[in-house]
Amino acid sequence: MENGKNAAVETVDLRKIHGEGSTAVRALDGVSLSFPAGEFAAIMGQSGSGKSTLLHILGALDKPSSGTVTVGGTELSKLSDRKLTLLRRERMGFVFQFFNLIPTLSAEENILLPALISGEKVGRHARRLDEMLELVGLSARRAHRPDELSGGEQQRVAIARALIRNPDIVLADEPTGNLDSKTGSGVLDLLKESAARYGQTIIMVTHDPRAAATADRVVFLADGRVVDETRSPKHDEILERIKTLESAG
């Protein structure tokens, strides 16, 4: 585990226990990780490995039972719900598996949602909005509502939403899980390009080796522990490692 000095996100001995006593489940069991700024990291693992729990805790959506999470030098456990909300608003972007757009808002409004929620003037973001729409290739469909967009288009809107305020960290939970492989790879390219262009830290949870292969680094989780990791992985290499893990598990 390297402890990069300019780590955008860092966890120390993170534990998350669901339930109590004999029925207690250790979703995370001492995870210490560090993600340097600008890194595109993938977290892999079977279902139940704790990868989603980790992502939620990193994204300040959930609280750990013990251990610390530091985002951009701020320790999260000390923050109130309101402070956490503001942190999410200011520094983070989220992409979910189920696109999760607000059906009553247009594509454009969905992209602007974080800014709108902050009560910022839309005009301030006009240029950024155009840029984002262009980046995700939806300039022509900006006024459409989510139910008028295809799955891939919806996920692209969600990515544009995550990027609109130029957050330090983008957290993606199975962003390609509900897409066909061609659309999925388009979405991954988009994430990667954005990380390169804006210097963002991207942390993606996935169980799709092909998706993981686009990342700079892949962290493998099993039973709530980091069991392995690799840099600039190839698709075959990832499959190989998964096999090893499975036989070990």
Binding site: S52, H56, L61, D62, F94, I102, P103, L113
Partner: protein, 849 residues
């Protein structure tokens, strides 16, 4: 399993039950109230006037007749006993708190009775002591005596038209229902009452006991035949039933409110059950997969609803009992009439329970069918609340609004037509059809509201956006997502609000018209009236003369009146003196051909009549109107038609006081207006009149302004009672908003999660829900104000049908208050759902589909 389902979701069960509890509670409360009132009054009435087999009264229903009739009755075959009576309005004068302070005045009905037949004259039973026998003896009802601190043997002051007299209390009467709101009953010897109340040789009723039960019918016919046209002989029950039927209209109006509350209750059940079904989709799908048939699943939902309905209805009856207590108390406050004992009838309990369970089961039908239709596959896949917009495209989307327009188009003119033409005596079918018109209009508007939801929400949207940012705009959009549900919720509020507005319009217009009449038409400066509102005490001419002679008084006018019943129609007959037109401005109807000197014709036995009466009976100047006097019907020439007949509400009949005294034996005045000389010293004048009134403590001097305030006070007090009932139905509707918002939160869990994830604070998501509530309730209140104004206008047209127009005063304050209430209801209804939205677990909300 149904039972376990209820138990496993206590909060949902509670929310659903609240709807039923409130709905059933109101139905039960209202039924109990109306039954309590009708029981109390009929009990009392039958005690006071009708314990005997038959009763002989003037054909007009009120007034007196010659006491000699008694001899004739007694001489009739098969008459066992006959007891004369002469009830008069009197006042009990109790010593004031301090020696110098004016006496406390208690209104009472004093029966003049013959000592030997006193027991039969009324249905009151003797509790203590004996019936009055000679001269100055008196007997009072027990609770009045007790509250006044009077004991048998003591002397008590009674106010009579001629001044106050001292009588000795010789006994106590037992009155059913205990205290009658401070209103007392008493008896004194007939000849004494005749003398003191200026009714020498007169009585107003004879209670007759037949020799045997079988002889009653024959005897009735014989008396009818023998006693002539001026008198009528009825079975006691007939009179009592008449009183009872007068409560029907009141009860129907109350039940109408209860009905709306129940409708909202049903809607709450529908919503809550739909929510439960959505939540259980997965479980239901599994049951289907395991081989449950659709019918089994639908049945289990219905059984669940029935259990819930039973539970809710049972609680509702308890709640309703409390409500009835409250309403009876309010009724007492409003009409200065306390009722202590509630009448709980098995009918009310059973019907409340049956209606409650039925409504719940009916409301459960659609959710139950939907539960049955859950496919096994779909259910295994779907996550609880994440449901796509409900239903898909409707067939014939224009059908419902069109039907609504049709209903309004038929209902509203029908109300108007009825109001214009038949307001004089709304009865039976006509009354029901008017009510049907109102219900039809409401139903029609409810059907139109779904179409209005989108444009109205679009109107609010920019304002909300401006005030609350994006969550305001989203809230407006959310309100239109399930238009049917929003519309139903808003409709319920609409009904309550529009009734409030309509009643305010009616009340405000009547009050406004009275006010403007007092300002424009009353030329006097002072009014002498009984100090107690419900008192019907009268004064003799001696009082009028004394006040008329006071220095500074230019002139006075005294009014007397009697109430006539003929052929199912009632009318008020006034006796006026010559100075009446100098104090009250009298406008004759243009086009009626009323001559200039019409008023002076009254001296010669002619009559003036109100415009409405002239219209409804098609009477013209110069024709004759027949009135039932105790000596038989008499005809009076119509000398003129009065346009501004505020006293009789358009149906009044004016005779000279002398004629009223001669033909109807109504000699005493009940209302005195005083005009001061222009240069009079007002303070001295008031002091002089008050000095005179010391001998008549049952009367009070009011300046015009004070009197106006008094009338308005009475009016408003009575309206509080109706507002309270309407308030309950609005409150139930507010629960509908809570319910709909809870459903919104539940359905939009995932969206709320996203909003929180991208940085919306708890406050913001809470506001999202509250704003939606505001949008819904504002739609309801706005439409309610519009419809209420329309209905109010129609009601006002109705109350002023014919000659005397009630001018329409728009209820500005209630209208503004309703809009404001719309905001408040939205906010308060949103609080709890907003809290649960704010507490949404982001991870759970976002993660699963």
């Amino acid at each position: 399993m149904s039972l376990r389902n209820l138990g496993s979701r206590p909060q949902r069960t509670l929310l659903t039950a609240v709807g039923i509890v409130l709905g059933v509670g109101i139905v039960f409360g209202v039924l109990t109230l109306s039954q309590t009132m009708s029981r109390t009054f009929t009990d009392l009435y039958s005690r006071a006037f009708g314990a005997a087999d038959l009763v002989v009264t003037p054909a007009g229903g009120s007034g007196t007749f010659d006491a000699d009739v008694l001899k004739e009755v007694r001489a009739t075959k098969e008459v066992e006993t006959a007891a004369p009576r002469l009830p008069v309005s009197a006042s009990l004068l109790l010593p004031g708190e301090k020696v110098q302070s004016p006496p406390e005045v208690r209104s009472m009905q004093l029966f003049g009775v013959e000592p030997k037949s006193a027991a039969l004259a009324t249905g009151f039973e003797l509790d203590k002591g004996r019936f009055p026998e000679s001269g100055q003896e008196l007997i009072l009802d027990g609770s009045t005596a007790e509250s006044a601190g009077l004991r048998v043997g003591e002397r008590v002051k009674v106010a009579t038209p001629g001044g106050s007299k001292k009588l000795r209390l010789v006994g106590l009467l037992r009155v059913p229902g205990g205290s009658f709101g401070g209103f007392g009953f008493g008896m004194a010897p007939l000849d004494y009452v005749q003398k003191q109340f200026d009714k020498k040789g007169k009585i107003s009723g004879i209670a007759v006991e037949a020799t045997s039960d079988g002889a009653v019918a024959d005897l009735r016919e014989r008396l009818e035949r023998n006693l002539g046209e001026g008198l009528q002989t009825e079975r006691s029950e007939t009179r009592t039933n008449e009183i009872n039927s007068q409560f029907q209209g009141f009860a129907i109006a109350l039940l109408f409110f209860a009905g709306t509350a129940l409708f909202v209750g049903a809607f709450l059940v529908f919503n809550a059950l739909s929510m439960t079904i959505l939540e259980r989709t997965r479980e239901l799908g599994m049951l289907r997969a395991l081989g449950s048939t659709r019918g089994m699943i639908a049945r289990s939902v219905i059984v669940e609803a029935a259990l819930l309905g039973l539970l809710g209805s049972a609680l509702g009856v308890i709640f309703g009992y409390g409500m009835a207590r409250g309403l009876v108390f309010l009724f007492g406050q409003a009409f200065l009439f306390k009722i202590t004992k509630l009448t709980i009838s098995p009918f009310a309990i059973v019907s409340a329970l049956v209606v409650g369970v039925l409504i719940t089961v009916i409301a459960a039908l659609y959710p139950a069918l939907r539960a049955g239709r859950v496919s096994p596959v779909e259910a295994m896949r779907a996550r609880s609340g994440a449901v796509a917009s409900s239903g898909g495209k409707r067939r014939l989307p224009w059908l419902a609004p069109l039907l609504g327009l049709f209903l309004v188009a038929v209902g509203a003119p029908w109300i108007y037509y009825l109001a214009k033409n038949l307001s004089e005596n709304l009865e039976g079918l006509v009354y029901a059809s008017g009510l049907a018109g109102v219900i039809g209009t409401f139903l029609g508007v409810s059907l139109i509201i779904p179409v209005l939801v989108r444009p109205l929400a679009a109107v609010f949207s920019p304002a909300l956006r401006l005030l609350f940012g994006i969550e305001g705009r989203m809230a407006a959009a959310n309100a239109t997502r399930n238009r049917g549900r929003t519309a139903l919720t808003a409709s319920a509020l609409m009904v309550g609000v529009s009734l409030v507005i309509a009643f305010s319009a009616l009340g405000g217009s009547v009050l406004g018209t009275i006010r403007s009449f007092l300002e424009d038409s009353l030329g006097g400066d002072y009014v002498v009236q009984p100090g107690e509102t419900q008192s019907e005490v009268t004064f003799s001419n001696e009082l009028v003369d004394r006040i008329g002679k006071a220095p500074g008084v230019e002139r006075t006018t005294a009014l007397a009146s009697t109430f006539l019943n003929s052929g199912g129609k009632s009318s008020l007959v006034y006796g006026v003196d010559e100075s009446y037109p100098d104090i009250f401005r009298v406008n004759y109807s243009p086009g009626s051909g009323t001559p200039e000197n019409a008023f002076s014709e009254l001296r010669n036995g002619a009559a003036l009549i109100g415009q409405q009466l002239a219209d409804s009976r098609n009477l013209k100047v110069g024709e004759k109107i027949s009135l039932p006097t105790p000596e038989g019907p008499k005809k009076y020439r119509v000398a003129g038609v009065v346009d501004n007949d505020i006293l009789g509400g358009g149906a009044g009949i004016y005779l000279s006081r002398d004629v009223l005294a001669r033909d109807f034996d109504e000699k005493e005045g009940e209302f005195l207006a005083v005009k001061a000389k222009p240069d009079a010293d007002r303070a001295a004048l008031e002091r002089d009149i008050r000095d005179i009134l010391k001998d008549y403590p049952q009367f009070t001097l009011y300046s015009n302004a004070e009197w106006k305030a008094q009338i308005e006070g009475d009016f408003n007090r009575q309206y509080v009672f109706f507002y309270a009932i309407m308030g309950v139905s609005v409150a139930v509707s507010a629960f509908g908003v809570v319910n709909t918002l809870s459903m919104s939160v539940f359905e939009r869990t995932r969206e709320i999660g996203i909003l929180r994830a991208v940085g919306a604070t708890r406050l913001q998501v809470g506001r999202l829900i509250i704003d939606e509530g505001v949008v819904i309730s504002l739609i309801g209140c706005l439409v309610g104000v519009v419809i209420g104004s329309l209905l109010g206008y129609l009601f006002v047209q109705g109350s002023g049908a014919g000659g005397f127009e009630v001018s329409f005063y728009y209820p500005k304050v209630p209208a503004v208050a309703s809009i404001f209430a719309g905001l408040l209801i939205g906010v308060f209804a949103g609080l709890l759902p907003a809290r649960s939205a704010a507490r949404t677990n982001i991870v759970e909300a976002v993660q699963y589909e």
